[in-house]
C-alpha cells in the first residue's frame, strides 16, 4: 500500500475544512444577486453562534473522549440545566440566578456520570446513552409544567456580539490551558492511551475520570446559557441531537475514537467549524430538502473519517509484515 508522508493524518482535517468551506461558498453563490449567500453578515452570525455553542460543549466532551470514553448525555444535560436554571430564575425572581443554577445542574449531572463510570466500571457509552434517553424524558416532563420560558430582559445584554464573544474566548482559553498545559489534560490523554499503564505509573485514574465527566457536564451547563441567551428562551428542541454534532466535531477535527495523545484542543475548533459549515451549507444550498441534509452530513463524516484513517499511523501498522510485527518478529 502506498505510504502517506508522516503527519499527513494531522493535515487531513485542515484540508477537509477548506474543501468544505470552498465547496459550500461556491455552491451558495446566488446567480440573481451575484453574492455568496454563505458570506452574508446575517448568515455568518448564525454560523458563528451555532459554532460557539458546539465548541463550548465540545471543550468539555474533549476531556472525556481523550480518556477513550464518550459522553452522549451532553445534549440532554444542556436541556436539563437550561430548563431548571430558567425555572429557578423565574421562581425566585432573580434573573442572574440562571447562571449559577445552570452551571451547577450541569456539573452535578457530570459528576454523577463520572462516579458511575469510575466506581462501578459501567462503560461510558452505555451509561450516557441511558442518560440521554432518561433525562430527555425528565426534561419533557418539566417542560409540560413550565412551557417555554423567556430569557429575562435583564440578561439580554449577554447576546450582544462583543459580550458573548468575550465570554466565549475566555472559556476557550481556560479550557485550552487546562487541556494542553496541565496534568489534568495530560493524565487524561495518558489514560486514553493505556489505562493500565497510567494506573501503574500512579495516575489517579478514578479521580481523573470524574474530573473529565464533571467538566463535560459543567460545559453542557455553560452551553445551556449560550443557548438561552442566543435563542431567547428555552424550547422543546433544546440540545436535541447536539451530542452527535459535538462528537462529530471532535472526530472531524482528527481526534481518534480511542482518545489518547491524538486529542488536541485545536482540533475541536477546526471540527466544530467544519460540521457547522456542512449543516449551514446544506441548508443554504437546498432549503426545500432539509431531510436529506442529515444523510449528507453522515456521508461526509464517513468520508472524512475514512480518509484520515487511511492516512493514519494506526492503520499503517497493518500495511505490511514489517510494521505489523516490528515489535517482535521483524528487525529491531
Amino acid at each position: 500500500m502506498k505510504k502517506f508522508p508522516p503527519g499527513f493524518q494531522d493535515i487531513v482535517p485542515f484540508i477537509a475544512f477548506f474543501a468544505i468551506f470552498i465547496f459550500f461558498m461556491i455552491a451558495s453563490h446566488d446567480e440573481r444577486t451575484g453574492a455568496f449567500r454563505m458570506l452574508t453578515a446575517l448568515n455568518l452570525r448564525t454560523v458563528l453562534d451555532q459554532t460557539m455553542l458546539t465548541i463550548v460543549v465540545a471543550c468539555g466532551v474533549l476531556f472525556v473522549v481523550a480518556q477513550g470514553s464518550i459522553d452522549l448525555s451532553v445534549g440532554v444535560n444542556l436541556a436539563l440545566s437550561g430548563v431548571i436554571g430558567m425555572w429557578a430564575a423565574h421562581a425566585a425572581g432573580v434573573p442572574f440566578l440562571v447562571i449559577p443554577v445552570s452551571l451547577l445542574v450541569g456539573l452535578a449531572a457530570g459528576v454523577f456520570n463520572g462516579v458511575i463510570v469510575s466506581r462501578f466500571k459501567v462503560p461510558s457509552f452505555m451509561l450516557t446513552l441511558a442518560m440521554l434517553i432518561g433525562i430527555r424524558g425528565l426534561v419533557n416532563y418539566i417542560q409540560t409544567k413550565t412551557h417555554a420560558q423567556r430569557l429575562p430582559d435583564e440578561l439580554l445584554f449577554l447576546n450582544t456580539p462583543a459580550v458573548k464573544t468575550a465570554i466565549f474566548i475566555a472559556i476557550v482559553l481556560i479550557m485550552a490551558y487546562v487541556f494542553e498545559f496541565t496534568r489534568t489534560g495530560r493524565y487524561g490523554r495518558a489514560i486514553g492511551e493505556n489505562e493500565t499503564a497510567a494506573r501503574f505509573v500512579g495516575v489517579p485514574v478514578g479521580k481523573m475520570k470524574i474530573v473529565a465527566f464533571a467538566l463535560s457536564g459543567l460545559m453542557a451547563g455553560m452551553g445551556a446559557l449560550f443557548y438561552v441567551v442566543t435563542v431567547g428562551s428555552t424550547s422543546q428542541q433544546m440540545g436535541v441531537f447536539l451530542e452527535m454534532r459535538v462528537v462529530m466535531a471532535i472526530f472531524l477535527g482528527g481526534v481518534l475514537v480511542t482518545g489518547g495523545f491524538s486529542a488536541r484542543f485545536y482540533k475541536i475548533l477546526l471540527g466544530s467549524f467544519s460540521i457547522q459549515i456542512i449543516i449551514n451549507g446544506l441548508a443554504l444550498v437546498n432549503k426545500s430538502d432539509a431531510l436529506i441534509s442529515q444523510s449528507v452530513q453522515g456521508l461526509l463524516l464517513l468520508l472524512i473519517l475514512l480518509v484520515s484513517s487511511l492516512a493514519g499511523k494506526r492503520t499503517a501498522r497493518g500495511d505490511d509484515d514489517h510494521t505489523a510485527t516490528s515489535g517482535q518478529v521483524g528487525p529491531r
Binding site: 496541565t182 492511551e193 497510567a198 505509573v201 500512579g202 489517579p204 495523545f261 518478529v329 521483524g330
Partner: protein, 500 residues
C-alpha cells in the same frame, strides 16, 4: 550423527530498508536441540517465523527431510508438523483454554457444525498429561489467566500438532523457575523421541544448559555455530556482540551494605488471595531481592507496595515521609518508582511517543504556578535523558512501539531515575532484553544504589537477584519463607533449598 530434518540454504529476508536475514545456512538434525542467540535485531525471530510459515522468505530454500518446504502460512506449517510458540502472547482471551489449544483446528470435534466442548476438553487434557504440562482449568476463559499460564497454553497448542520441529521464541522469560524445569524436561522428552527443537533465549547460561548446538546471529547473518558442551558463556557473548563484554556484569563485591536511613517498612501485609502476612524493611542504598516459584507472590509484593492492590491487613509505611502508602497516586506523589513486569501492557503507552512515555511520571514535578507545564521543559527533559541513556530512536516523537525491547526498557527504568526516587520497585527489569542492554541496566542499578536509592528487585531469574541484591527474600505461596544476606551462603543451591 542422525539424519538432517531441516536444511536451510541461502535464506534472505528483507523488511523495507532492513536486511533482517542475510544468506542464512542452517542444518538441523533429528533429535537436536538448537539454540539461536543474538542481540535484539539480529534476525533470530525473523528466521524462526519463516520456518513457521509466518513470513515468506525473499529468496533461498528450505528442505524438510530432503523435500522442498515452502509453507504458505502458519497452518500450512502446522500440517507439516512444524509449530512455533511466538514471543508475544497469542491466545484469545474470550475463549476457553481447550478451544484456544485447538484454535483453527476444531474441525475434528465438530458435529453438525457444533463444536463439542467436551471432546475438545478431553483431547486437551490428554495433551497436557502426555507432555507433562501443568494443567489449567480447561473451561475457563484465558483472558483472566496469568501470562505464565497463557504461555503454557500456547505451548500446548504448538505441541498439539505432535511437532517434528518445535520452535520456541523467548518462552522461558514468561515462566517461573518451576515451570522452566518442566520445560527442560519436555525438551529432554522431545529429544528422546527424535524430535527437533529450535530455542531462542536471551539467557546464555540457560541456553548452554539446555541445547546441543548453538547458532549465533549478528546483523542478520550467521556468525558462528558451536557445540554447547564445548563452549563458555563468555565465548558465546563475545560472538554475539563481536567484542569482549566487561567482567563487571553483576556486582563485584560479596558483602551486604546499605545506608543507615530506613526507607520503607512493610508490616504484616496481607492481600486477599495473593499475600499473607509479609513483613520487611529496606534501607537507603540497599537492593532487596525477591525470588520464588510461580504463585509465590513476589510480583504481588511490588504491586502492593506501590498501592495497586488493596491491603486486607497490615501496612506499607514510607518511613522518610512518615505515611502509609495506600494508592498508586500517593506512591507517585511521594517519589516511589515502579517498573512493572509486563512492559508493553502495564508500563508503556505503546502508541504514544517516546516523549510522552518518558515524561509521564515527572509531570507533577514539572508543573509550575497554576499547574503550568511547558512543552519546552518536557522536550528538554526527554531529549536530554534519551541522549544520556543512549536510547536508540529516530527522535523523541517516535512511537514507542517501534523501538526494540531493550530501548523500551531503558525508557521504562530511565523515566523513574530522572526523578531521583527514594524507593524503586523493579519487577523483572531485564526481561527480554539482550546482554548489552542488560549490562547497562545493571550499571544503572548500581549507580542508583550508590545514590542511596532503596531498590526492591523482584525477579524470576535467580542469577540476577544473586548478582545484585544485598539481601534476598524467598517467598512461597504468598508468604516469606526465608531471608538470606549477601555473603558465603548466597548461592543458587542455598536459595533453591529454601524455595522448595
Amino acid at each position: 550423527m542422525s539424519a538432517p530434518i531441516l536444511e536451510i540454504r541461502g535464506l534472505n529476508k528483507r523488511f523495507g530498508p532492513t536486511q533482517a536475514n542475510r544468506h542464512i545456512d542452517l542444518t538441523l538434525r533429528e533429535g537436536e536441540i538448537r539454540g539461536l542467540i543474538g542481540e535484539n535485531g539480529s534476525g533470530k525471530s525473523t528466521l524462526m517465523s519463516q520456518i513457521a510459515g509466518i513470513h515468506i522468505p525473499d529468496s533461498g530454500e528450505m528442505r524438510v527431510r530432503g523435500k522442498a518446504y515452502r509453507p504458505r502460512d502458519a497452518l500450512d506449517a502446522y500440517e507439516q508438523n512444524i509449530s512455533m510458540v511466538l514471543q508475544e502472547l497469542g491466545v484469545i482471551g474470550n475463549l476457553p483454554v481447550a478451544v484456544n489449544v485447538f484454535l483453527g483446528r476444531t474441525g475434528r470435534f465438530t458435529k453438525c457444525g457444533i463444536v463439542s466442548r467436551k471432546a475438545v476438553s478431553r483431547a486437551t487434557e490428554e495433551l497436557f498429561t502426555k507432555w507433562g504440562l501443568p494443567m489449567p482449568p480447561l473451561n475457563q476463559f484465558t483472558g483472566d489467566m496469568m501470562i505464565e499460564t497463557r504461555k503454557i497454553i500456547e505451548l500446548a497448542r504448538a505441541l498439539s500438532v505432535d511437532p517434528d520441529i518445535l520452535l520456541l521464541d523467548e518462552i522461558t522469560q514468561s515462566l517461573s523457575l518451576n515451570n522452566r524445569q518442566k520445560l527442560y524436561e519436555l525438551l529432554e522428552k522431545l529429544k528422546s523421541l527424535g524430535r527437533s527443537v529450535i530455542v531462542i533465549t536471551h539467557d546464555v547460561e540457560e541456553m548452554l544448559r539446555i541445547t546441543d548446538t548453538i547458532t549465533v546471529l549478528r546483523d542478520g547473518e550467521v556468525v558462528g555455530e558451536t557445540v554447547s558442551s564445548g563452549t563458555t558463556a563468555d565465548e558465546v557473548k563475545r560472538m554475539m556482540v563481536g567484542r569482549e563484554i566487561g567482567g563487571d556484569y553483576y556486582r563485584a563485591d560479596n558483602r551486604p551494605e546499605h545506608g543507615d536511613e530506613l526507607v520503607l517498612s512493610v508490616k504484616n501485609l496481607s492481600v486477599a488471595g495473593e499475600l499473607d502476612d509479609i513483613s520487611f524493611d529496606v534501607f537507603a542504598g540497599e537492593i532487596l531481592g525477591f525470588c520464588g516459584l510461580s504463585d509465590s507472590g513476589i510480583h504481588s509484593v511490588g504491586r502492593a507496595v506501590f498501592g495497586l492492590s488493596k491491603a486486607a491487613a497490615g501496612s506499607v509505611r514510607l518511613v522518610a515521609r512518615d505515611m502509609d502508602i495506600t494508592s498508586p497516586a500517593q506512591a507517585l506523589e511521594n517519589n516511589i518508582g515502579y517498573v512493572p513486569k509486563d512492559r508493553d501492557t502495564e508500563a508503556l503507552m505503546i502508541d504514544a511517543s517516546v516523549l510522552e512515555n518518558f515524561v509521564l511520571p515527572s509531570l507533577g514535578k514539572l508543573a509550575g504556578a497554576m499547574g503550568f507545564i511547558s512543552s519546552g521543559s518536557l522536550k528538554r527533559l526527554a531529549s536530554e535523558r534519551v541522549a544520556k541513556l543512549s536510547i536508540k530512536c529516530e527522535d523523541i516523537a517516535q512511537r514507542v512501539g517501534e523501538l526494540s525491547g531493550g530501548n523500551k526498557q531503558k525508557i521504562n527504568l530511565g523515566r523513574w531515575l530522572v526523578k531521583d526516587p527514594s524507593l524503586l520497585i523493579l519487577d523483572c527489569p531485564t526481561r527480554g532484553v539482550d546482554v548489552g542492554v542488560k549490562a547497562y541496566l545493571y550499571s544503572l542499578m548500581k549507580e542508583a544504589k550508590r545514590n542511596g536509592i532503596a531498590i526492591l528487585l523482584i525477579s524470576d531469574e535467580l542469577p540476577e537477584v544473586l548478582g545484585m541484591a544485598d539481601r534476598l527474600i524467598v517467598m512461597k505461596g504468598g508468604r516469606v519463607t526465608g531471608m538470606i544476606d549477601r555473603g558465603e551462603a548466597f548461592t543458587e543451591q542455598a536459595v533453591i533449598e529454601v524455595m522448595i
